[in-house]
């Protein structure tokens, strides 16, 4: 199975071609203009933020993930696609140890979080600590039955922040980051449940962002939203990569194509192919991927 970094090296070794101003690479062969132009079209993998290594996962006796090796590059959007039951949501949930809430589940292998190399699925790692660092946004907007302000402040209060000024500042920052501040700044004390679906989802994203997580997980974040709300969330995801590493599971392949830098295709619990999104959607290497994304598949 490939990893993002390996695939990148395999598919296009010229991606490391020196760019203008990069003096460190001047000694190597100077690329022709056409090579540089070609390289710019393909997403480059940043250094890894997390990497799954030989990850296996079982629900009871049913093995849902089989030997997954995948690198999640920092400050980029990685999308997981695949048919229902392929294990993409299971994989996503490993990152914040959501499976711990369920009896009779078993992890094997590792998900290493950089820079401190914590194994997120290691038995020695405290799941609460993991969830502090990895935020998650779900399919259906699930705000708490509290005010908009309290929803976003919730995680901060849990972390012991009680200073009103600091809370207000951080709530505003999170709401701005989720591109919803202008819409709710006069309704901060209204119930979050009174907002529209798209607004609720963005409040949930603010809530996840408030604690400044390192990775934000999205599990089908727009499947319950209308097209305009979807477009706003997608735009937001694109912007969010500047502050956080994003991993998104989506059934909507066009969404994966629109928002992600890298796309991984999973099938029957295995990782079939991972590559730059532009490559996956124009010329995937594996027939299984092509069959799935073009809809030639039962």
């Amino acid at each position: 199975m490939e990893t993002l970094v390996n695939t990148r090296a395999e598919i296009n070794p010229r991606q490391v071609a020196p760019m203008q101003g990069d003096t460190s690479a001047q000694n190597s062969e100077t690329p022709s203009l056409s090579i540089v132009l070609e390289d710019r079209k393909v997403a480059r993998a940043n250094p890894p933020k997390a990497s799954a290594e030989k990850l296996n996962f079982w629900y009871g006796t049913n093995q849902a993930l089989k030997n997954i090796n995948l690198v999640i590059p920092e400050h980029q959007v990685s999308a997981l696609i695949g048919p229902s039951g392929c294990g993409k949501s299971t994989f996503l949930r490993c990152f914040n140890r959501m499976h711990d809430l369920q009896a009779d589940t078993k992890y094997e292998g590792a998900i290493t979080l950089r820079p401190d190399n914590v194994n997120l699925v290691g038995p020695e790692t405290d799941p609460i600590e993991v969830r502090m660092r990895i935020g998650m946004v779900f399919q259906k907007p699930n705000p708490f039955p509290k005010s908009v302000f309290e929803n976003v402040a919730y995680g901060l209060r849990l972390r012991g922040i009680s200073n009103r000024t600091e809370l207000a500042e951080r709530v505003e920052k999170a709401l701005r980051a989720a591109a919803i501040w202008d819409e709710v700044k006069d309704r901060l004390n209204d119930s979050a449940l009174a907002l529209s679906g798209g607004q609720m989802q963005r409040v949930c994203i603010s809530r996840a962002l408030a604690t400044e997580p390192e990775i934000l997980l999205f599990d089908e974040p727009t499947s319950a939203l209308d097209p305009i709300a979807t477009a706003k969330i997608e735009e937001l995801i694109t912007e969010l990569r500047q502050r956080v590493t994003v991993l998104i599971v989506t059934h909507n392949m066009q969404q994966a194509a629109r928002v992600s830098d890298f796309t991984a295709f999973m099938y029957l619990g295995e990782l079939v192919e991972v590559d730059a999104t532009s490559k996956i959607f124009t010329n995937p290497s594996k027939k299984a991927t092509e069959d799935y994304i073009t809809g030639r598949y039962g």
Binding site: M253, T282, Y292, I293, Y297, G298
Partner: protein, 236 residues
């Protein structure tokens, strides 16, 4: 890794249907355009003004094919949002339509020249390069036919054959050009006709380039990689 029991066609039959229609449309257009080229060359060689008029009268039809192909492929992309090989196929067909339309333009120019060339004389420049014109006409239509067939059958080997034959056409053009030059040096009275003859030869050489472009589209459609010069000589 194998996907268990993949279906042969799309889950959505309308995607298969639309792609099939687009391809059929391009093949029909290809047939018409190939006939335009061979008729234009025949009209010129045989001084057949009536045949030249037929070519000219069919030119709007070629343009109509192209604009329909362009519109239909755009609609297909907007409605079905194809990716991977479907996307490459739709694009290859639309681009081939543009190439075929340009071939149509070249035949029109040759037909115009044929329509006004009149009865000709033994010293006519057309007569002096008739052999080359005939050969280039045969070669360029053969290349076009193979390019269109390669598009229809998604056959990369056939597409590569077209790329390889382009050199032959270029060489024939260079030879014909030398012939015309020595002709005009000997007798400058047919200067206008000589220029038109050069344009006709150049038109046929360009038709070879368009066939080559279609073949390159086919290779990208089938293989997902843009053909490089190094790949030119590869078989299948």
């Amino acid at each position: 890794m194998q996907v268990a029991d993949p279906h042969d066609g799309h889950t959505s039959k309308s995607v298969d249907q639309t792609l099939h229609e687009l391809r059929m449309h391009a093949v029909e257009m290809g047939g018409l355009v190939i006939d335009q080229v061979s008729s234009a060359v025949k009209a010129l060689l045989e001084r057949d003004a009536r045949l030249a008029d037929v070519v000219l009268s069919r030119e709007p039809l070629v343009n109509e094919y192209e604009s329909r192909l362009d519109g239909d492929s755009l609609t297909f992309m907007a409605l079905h949002q194809p990716v991977a090989n479907d996307l490459r196929t739709a694009r290859a067909i639309a681009r081939s339509g543009v190439e075929l339309e340009r071939v149509g333009d070249e035949s029109k120019k040759i037909a115009r020249f044929a329509a006004k060339a009149g009865a000709g004389s033994p010293h006519d420049p057309v007569v002096s390069v008739a052999r080359h014109l005939r050969h280039m006409g045969t070669l360029s239509t053969a290349m076009l036919r193979n390019a269109v067939r390669a598009l229809d059958e998604a056959d990369p080997a056939l597409a590569r054959e077209v790329l390889d034959r382009d050199k032959e056409l270029d060489e024939e053009f260079a030879t014909a050009l030398r012939q015309v030059m020595s002709f005009v040096m000997e007798d400058a009275q047919f200067l206008r006709a000589t220029i038109d003859t050069v344009f006709a030869l150049k038109g046929l050489e360009r038709i070879g380039d368009h066939a080559k472009n279609i073949s390159e589209q086919v290779l990208y459609m089938v293989e997902g990689e843009r053909p490089t010069k190094a790949k030119k000589g590869d078989g299948g």
